[in-house]
Amino acid sequence: MIFSKNATLINKLSLVCGRFILNSVPTGVEVCLSMQHGGPYPATTDSRFTAVGAGAIKRFARPQSFQNWPDALLPEELKNANPAGVPRTVNNNWTKNPL
């Protein structure tokens, strides 16, 4: 087992914040994918999302499954040829390749 000094304090602090900072200041919010600008209530109403960084796009989208649709009628991003060139999990493997 690995324990750190002051582990209980650090462990408890980790529960209440979106961004956990060591030896720096909280002001200055970088715009990048790894930024988390959000946190448990009352910091935000939904701690699962960020308001800064491109991950923020996901707040305004929902998952939808398409079952048994022909290729021509699927969204571009899900067509066999992958014309949009987006990364996809195909039968559990990450790829940008066409089917």
Binding site: N6, H37, T45, K58, G85, P87, R88
Partner: protein, 405 residues
């Protein structure tokens, strides 16, 4: 100067936004990205007139506004790049296996846009978290039309940015109602937008009272919708004993700068500092007190925020067991927030919820604890935060390996 939208207008705008959604949800990732880049270019085209207008409305210095405009343009461009890369879609395909018993169907999944998004701009970021800010950029990238309610503290700035966005929508040959801009100084406009059946989601940056009211309104609709409200955070900073022993003065100077940055009007402003009551922390407090005495008060964003800062600061300093450590020695003029530091102890903090509330402005409360165990008790009182900071040496948090006997 700017008229609030009427209920009839809101109904009409929301129907038009929904019609635009039926088109916009089908456009390619590249077309969405092109729109966002065109908006960035149109904002740049507004030139320094935009900065002057925002300066008059927000009291923010020109250098800060120039910087924030840069951030806004970068956000639009980098979210456009992300939109096109498409990793955020979380696309997955599981192909059919008809020979399996039972047969496995062909299933393909991705994120699809929610629908028209209502965005409430923030007072403290007239560009980056307002009309063409992070929420608008995110919603447009997701494939959602946006309806912005201008912040009443900077309506002319909002109007200018809105015209730049509409120009970009036209040049990209998209339906005009992909973007709508309304004014609403009264709460009724915001309420009507949140309650409208065509509204699919809400983005909000502002006070806890405002955000929670919109959230409650949204979940009590006949059809509840998500509200992404970014509200209140005091961003606690825990000073561990080894760190303060080795760099008390350095840490005090670093934090004096962070507490007073932008007149303390950032959602990540450090409002609470928790330390062990020892000789090294005394040194930290001496240097912090000096730095704050020498800090120059800056004009706050608007009269409401200024009044709120003054009254919250007074309220805090009136609490039993809370003392003022120091304040800026400069005489604060017209709407300038005076930087200040207050001190209290763990027992007082734990028993008095007034001390847990955010004071929006250049103020920090230092809580002195007897030991780490008391620090832990203080940490248990901390509500959800955007950030928590630990100032520590390696020795304060080093990992030790223990073997079970």
């Amino acid at each position: 100067m700017f008229r609030d939208a009427t209920i009839e207008e809101i109904n009409q705008y929301m129907e038009a936004a929904f019609n635009a959604f039926m088109v916009y949800r089908k456009v390619s990732l590249k077309q969405r990205a092109d729109l966002m880049r065109a908006i960035a270019a149109e904002i740049e085209n507004l030139g320094d007139t935009l900065l002057q207008t925002a300066g008059k409305e927000t009291n923010l210095p020109e250098a800060r506004l120039r910087n924030e405009r840069g951030r806004t343009i970068f956000q639009l461009q980098s979210y456009a790049d992300a939109c096109e890369r498409g990793d955020w879609l979380e696309a997955s395909i599981d192909t059919a296996d008809l020979n399996r018993n039972p047969p496995k169907p062909d299933l393909r999944k991705m994120l699809v846009p929610l629908g028209p998004v209502v965005v409430f701009g923030a007072a403290n970021f007239p560009f980056a978290y307002s009309t063409a800010g992070g929420d608008t950029a995110s919603a447009l990238a997701a494939g959602c039309p946006v309806i912005v309610k201008a912040h009443p503290a900077h309506p002319a700035t909002s109007e200018m940015v809105a015209s730049a966005i509409s120009k970009a929508v036209t040049s990209c040959k998209l339906p005009a109602s992909v973007f709508t801009h309304v004014h609403g100084a009264s709460v009724e406009v915001g309420q009507a937008l949140v309650k409208h059946p065509r509204t699919a989601a809400v983005g909000f940056t502002g006070s806890l009272a405002g955000g929670k009211a919109l959230y409650d309104l949204a979940v009590n609709r006949p059809v509840p919708i998500p509200v992404f409200a970014e509200m209140s955070s005091i961003n606690p900073v825990f000073l561990l004993p080894g760190k303060i022993k080795t760099s008390a003065a350095e840490t005090a100077k670093l934090y004096a700068g962070s507490i007073t940055l932008g007149a303390g009007q950032f959602c990540t402003n450090p409002g609470l500092i928790i330390a062990i009551d020892d000789e090294h922390t005394k040194k930290f407090l001496e240097v912090l007190a000096d730095e704050i005495r020498e800090s120059v008060p800056a004009k706050m964003l608007h009269a409401g925020i200024y009044r709120n800062y003054v009254s919250k600061q007074e309220q805090l300093l009136l609490q039993k067991g809370v003392q003022e450590l120091s304040r800026s020695t400069f005489t604060a003029a017209d709407m300038q927030g005076t930087p200040a530091i207050a001190v209290s102890d763990a027992a007082t903090f734990i028993s008095n919820p007034v001390l847990h509330q955010e004071v929006f402005g250049p103020l920090s409360l230092v809580i002195l604890c007897k030991d780490i165990a008391e620090m832990e008790k203080v940490s248990e009182k901390a509500e959800g935060q955007l950030t928590v900071t630990v100032m520590a040496t390696e020795n304060d948090i080093q990992q030790k390996r223990y073997t079970h006997q």
